[in-house]
Each structure stands twice: as C-alpha cells, then as structure tokens.
C-alpha cells in the first residue's frame, strides 16, 4: 500500500539505485576509505595492496563486499592500535591469509562455486554423476 508522502522519493531512489547500485553500500565504501586514510602509513599500504588483490575476485554482492572491507578496517585499526607488526598480521605467506579471509564472503564464495561447478563437470565426464545440484548450469 503506497499512501505515504515519501513514495515519489522512494521510487526516485529505486530508479537511481538501478543505475548506481545501492547508495547505502556506496556510503559504507566511502566510510571504509576514510578509515583506511587514518591508518599509519605502512598499515595503509598493506590494506591498499589487499584491496587491489580482492578486487580481482570480481564484484561480490554489494552489501557483502562492504562488510568484507569493514572487517578489514576493523582488523587493521586494531592491529595499528596494538602495534602488531605487519609481518605478524600476514604471516610468511600473505596469500594464505587472504584466501582464508575471502572465503567468508560472497566474493570468495563465487570462486568456490566455480570450483564446485568444475568438480561436478569432471564427475559427469568421469561417468560418476552422483550429485543432482546442476540445476543452475
């Protein structure tokens, strides 16, 4: 039921968001960037490198990607406050950390879905089509 006076505004925003993506996500992204700017330089350099790497996973669901970057900001703000050395945050293999981290979000799950799709394609090719989860293919 659309009786409220904010209806035109709401609809306008709906159209706008079709073009721009949800404004709320954009706001969260800006807030994340502002938080990163406040970090000590070496922490900021590390976060920006992470950010660049994460972008290669492709766009996740907007809200989920926003949560991912907020969680990153939490980690680095806390680490900077504790004085945790960069090397201790990342360990010897930074990729390992990133892979574990990204699995928690839709961006990472996208990769996982592709892996599953690949695995079941091989199952089929091998004549071992045991799973019935191929509706989406």
């Amino acid at each position: 039921m659309d009786t409220g006076s904010n209806e035109p505004k709401r609809r306008y925003r709906q159209y706008l968001e079709v073009v721009t993506g949800p404004l709320e996500d954009k706001k969260r992204w800006r807030q994340y960037k502002a938080r990163v700017k406040q970090l000590p330089e070496n922490y900021r350099t590390a976060v920006e490198a992470l950010e660049r790497y994460l972008m290669h996973f492709g766009p996740g669901d907007g809200a989920d990607a926003a949560s991912m970057f907020e969680d990153l900001a939490d980690l680095f703000e806390q680490s900077a406050a504790d004085g945790t050395p960069i090397r201790e945050i990342f360990g010897e293999d930074p990729v390992e950390f990133v892979e574990a981290f990204v699995q928690n979000y839709a961006v990472g799950r996208y990769i996982r879905r592709e892996r599953e799709r690949f695995t079941s394609a091989i199952d089929r090719a091998a004549g071992e089509d045991t799973r019935k989860e191929d509706r989406s293919v």
Binding site: Q78, D82, F97, A100, F101
Partner: protein, 109 residues
C-alpha cells in the same frame, strides 16, 4: 616451528581456537598471543582473525563488543552451546586420527 608442523596445524586450527575459547572468553589478539606463548609461532594474526569471522558467521561463538583504551572496540568471543558441540566433535575426530596414526607407527616397527 617447522614447515611440517605449520601444515599440520592448518587443519586443526579451528579446533584449537574453539578449545581456547571453551576455557574463557577472549579477543583476537589474546588468542594469537597465547598461541605464540605455547610455541605456535608461525600463526598469522590475520589467519586467526579470518577464522574468528568464520566461526562467528557459523554461529559457534557469541560476540560482545567491549570498549578499549586504545583503538576501536574489541570483539570478545565466547563459545556457545553450538560451539561446544562442534568442539566435542573435533576432539572425537582428533582421537580417532591420533589412534590410527599411533597404530600405523607401531605397525611400522
């Protein structure tokens, strides 16, 4: 810590963290610090953080935000009923593995 130990640890890290949290609530940095004290020196803070995010998403822990003197509020994690169940299952799996490996070693003598 040797490379082999690091590799073996990967599969058990979740159980280890759940076990730590079964004793008392803790925040991320405390968990990493404790692990280092115990000789698990190669564990990255980020890896523990990623694990904490995961077990929170899976509902194995309760999280409370506690203000801190320096930096943002800390997330304090404590094991809940579902987490305890998960931990018990981890110990059962661990016992099974340890027993099998011991048998293998004895058989190899």
């Amino acid at each position: 810590m040797g490379k082999q130990a690091t590799e073996m640890l990967k599969g058990t890290l979740e159980g280890i963290v759940l076990a730590i949290l079964s004793g008392r609530a803790a925040y991320g940095y405390e968990i990493t610090a404790w692990l280092r004290e115990q000789g698990f020196s190669d564990i990255a803070e980020g890896t523990i953080y990623a694990l904490l995010v995961r077990i929170e998403q899976r509902g194995l822990v309760d999280v409370e935000k506690v203000p801190s003197e320096k930096g943002p509020p800390r997330k304090v994690y404590s094991l809940n009923a579902q987490g305890r169940e998960h931990l018990e299952e981890f110990w059962r799996t661990w016992s099974f593995l340890a027993e099998r490996l011991e048998k293998l070693r004895e058989g190899g003598k």
